[in-house]
């Protein structure tokens, strides 16, 4: 419990440092000018004299020094107001919420497919270390993990969308939710990620299989199936559990390229567009979410690890 408290305090510290840095970065003239260019048009900005530009900054609230804006922003966030998007001309809250919902749907299906697949493959491989099955599974997992998401996305698109024409090329979903359009992004993320989790499961399973109590159980003449299901699995799944929870953190990075490639309106696409635009409050909100998810998943994985493994106690 003490550790969790320390982690939470650490998270808050991290959030404060991160958002101050972001405010400093986006306070630069480059980003203000970028917003002005996007709003007023290229020639419009060049036609403005310095006074007009100053007036525009005042109108947008960008003339206030960043530390004051930071203080204001913190106050607003604590009241649940995440600010205003310059680009989308709307409150950040609903925007972020909609994007997170879409990414949530994506993540749900990724985990729903990836977890069983990688656990089964990992356990199968780890059960008989060094067997042909183990070697093939291991090689396949290194292989799929080595193909970057962008390449996986391309190969899947070329095969299933352009070649066979079974699935749509893009996932913009302009006329509402469409499960078919979700398939390629989900497949891409699963293919990229399952190998890593499978390898972790395999390593953990292999370790358990060589442990004393499993050997004893097998020597005692217990049925092999029962040894695996009753004794080995429980202990072998502790390490993968941590890894799986930490994949949440990875997913927030991984979705950017997949969402941009497939035009899927989720968190990653929102973040990239906002960063390119200089849309400070959207970037802040996205970072907030990303850091909270990252740190929370670390805490959960720690707790889970302890819960599943009674040998470890928090100091």
């Amino acid at each position: 419990m003490k550790l969790i408290g320390r982690r939470l305090i650490q998270m808050i510290l991290i959030l404060i440092v991160a958002s101050i840095i972001l405010f400093i970065i986006f306070d630069s003239d480059t980003f203000k000018m970028r917003i002005a260019l996007a709003e007023l048009g290229n020639f419009g900005v060049s036609a403005m004299d310095p006074d007009d530009y100053k007036a525009w900054l005042v109108k947008k609230g960008l003339d206030i020094p960043f530390y004051q804006r930071f203080a204001l922003w913190v106050g607003n966030v604590l009241q649940g107001d995440l600010g205003w998007s310059f680009e989308k001309n709307t409150a950040v809250g609903p925007l972020l919420w909609a994007a997170l919902k879409n990414t949530g749907i994506l993540a749900f299906w990724v985990f729903a497919l990836m977890v069983p697949l990688s656990l089964i493959l990992g356990v199968l491989a780890g059960m008989r270390e060094g067997s042909r099955l183990d070697r093939s599974i291991s090689f396949i997992s290194v292989f799929t993990t080595s193909i970057p998401e962008i390449a996986t996305a391309i190969i899947l698109t070329v095969i299933f969308a352009l070649g066979l024409k079974w699935l749509p090329t893009k996932s913009a979903m302009i006329s509402g939710f469409d499960g078919w359009q979700l398939m390629l992004p989900v497949m891409t993320l699963v293919l990229y990620d399952f190998g890593y989790v499978a390898r972790m499961t395999r390593a953990s399973m292999a370790e358990v299989m060589t442990s004393q109590y499993i050997r004893t159980a097998v020597l005692k003449g217990l049925p092999y199936r029962r040894v695996i299901l009753r004794h080995a699995l429980r202990n072998a799944l502790i390490a993968p559990f941590t890894v799986i929870v930490l994949q949440l953190n990875w997913l927030l990075s991984g979705v950017v390229v997949v969402e941009v490639f497939f035009e899927y309106k989720g968190f990653g696409k929102l973040l990239l567009e906002a960063a390119l635009f200089g849309d400070i409050y959207v970037v802040q909100a996205c970072t907030l979410v990303a850091v909270i998810v990252a740190v929370t998943s670390q805490i959960i994985s720690d707790i889970g690890y302890t819960f599943l493994n009674p040998r470890i106690r928090f100091a």
Partner: protein, 340 residues
């Protein structure tokens, strides 16, 4: 990185030292001309090409040495072969009979097309540039920026890791906290924020990769340093009255080498992914450089058709094979170190 163990010291220190020197020399012979060639941005075809000539035998020698050392693990050898193939391409591409990678010749020629007296093995892109030539030239960019970025990240990460691990106390607290701040950002968020601020270019990729990778490296090195610090030879050095810096770099560093090499191979893979992905997102290298990420980016908007899909597939497979090479190498090396 829980499954990293410390490599035991090799039997003959002297033999290893000479071998290390040769390897270091060969690596420098490959590395320095190649990075100078790419970073200075010289136009191919000039006399600058000749500075890459000595690198070709150096790559082959490196391959043979590593092959001998790792021949017991076919995984490592396979990875090594993939990496060395691309390395060989990178240093020898100016001497290959290829089209100019940036010269438009005939657009949208499919692979194996013959037009006039020109033959396009892998076809041409939307601008009419030869894809074979762009792919082979492209590996130079990825390798140079990827390895340089990883190298810089390592130097920074190791420096802070050793500082934190060896000095401990407040230094450790501060360095570890800053590391944790950076590690709490999902990598891509960090990349986007940094590159967007600094502007897209190869040099800024180095900065971004350093920020993203150094904290993790720092953590590993710190852990190793904490562990090794308690060993006798460090204690001996301390009683000899050596300065902390001397101890860090001369006594500690060589002894954390083993696990770091494995981690470096993996990290080279990540960096390659990152560079390709960032370039695809428009945050990395800028056109018209022949680069795999750029090739994907440009083809994704001009050639989203089955009959033109070679434009996407070729760079996608190239980058995958390079990363596979790094990962297999890491895998094989780890396996070997576990076996010892």
């Amino acid at each position: 990185m829980a499954d990293i163990t410390i490599e035991p010291a090799a039997p003959s220190i002297l033999a290893q030292l000479t071998r290390t020197r040769i390897i270091a020399l060969l690596m420098a012979l490959v590395w320095l001309p190649l990075s100078a060639y790419v970073i200075s941005g010289v136009t191919p075809g000039g006399s600058a090409d000749y500075m890459l000539l000595p690198s070709i035998p150096a790559v082959i020698l490196l391959y043979l040495i590593a092959f001998r050392a790792w021949r017991e693990s076919w995984v490592a050898v396979l990875g090594l072969s993939l990496v060395c193939f691309w390395l060989l391409v990178a240093v020898s591409v100016p001497f290959l009979p290829l089209f100019d990678p940036n010269k438009p010749i005939a657009p949208f020629q499919i692979p194996f097309a013959t037009k006039g007296e020109n033959f396009y093995l892998l076809g041409t892109d939307y601008k009419g540039r030869d894809i074979l030539s762009r792919t082979l030239w492209g590996c130079q960019r990825v390798i140079v920026w990827g390895v340089t970025a990883t190298l810089v990240a390592y130097m920074v990460g190791m420096l802070f890791g050793l500082l934190a691990g060896y000095l401990s106390g407040w230094w450790d607290e501060i360095i570890s906290f800053l590391g944790n701040v950076l590690l709490s950002f999902p990598v891509m968020v960090l990349f986007i924020v940094i590159l967007n601020y600094l502007g897209p270019s190869g040099f800024n990729i180095i900065v971004a990769v350093t920020f993203a990778s150094a904290p993790a490296i720092m953590r590993i090195v710190r852990g190793l340093a904490l562990d090794i610090k308690t060993r006798d030879y460090v204690f001996a050095a301390q009683t000899r009255g050596e300065s902390p810096l001397w101890i860090m770099f001369v006594e500690l560093l060589p002894n954390v080498r083993g696990p770091i090499i494995v981690d470096a191979c993996l990290r080279l893979g990540y960096t390659t992914v990152a560079i390709t992905t960032l370039t695809f997102l428009g945050l990395g290298l800028q056109p018209p450089d022949p680069d795999w990420g750029l090739m994907i980016r440009e083809s994704a908007k001009t050639a989203m058709l089955f009959k033109f899909s070679y434009m996407l597939i070729v760079p996608a497979l190239s980058v995958s094979s390079l990363i596979l090479g790094f990962n297999l190498m890491a895998d094989g090396l780890r396996e070997m170190s576990l076996r010892d």
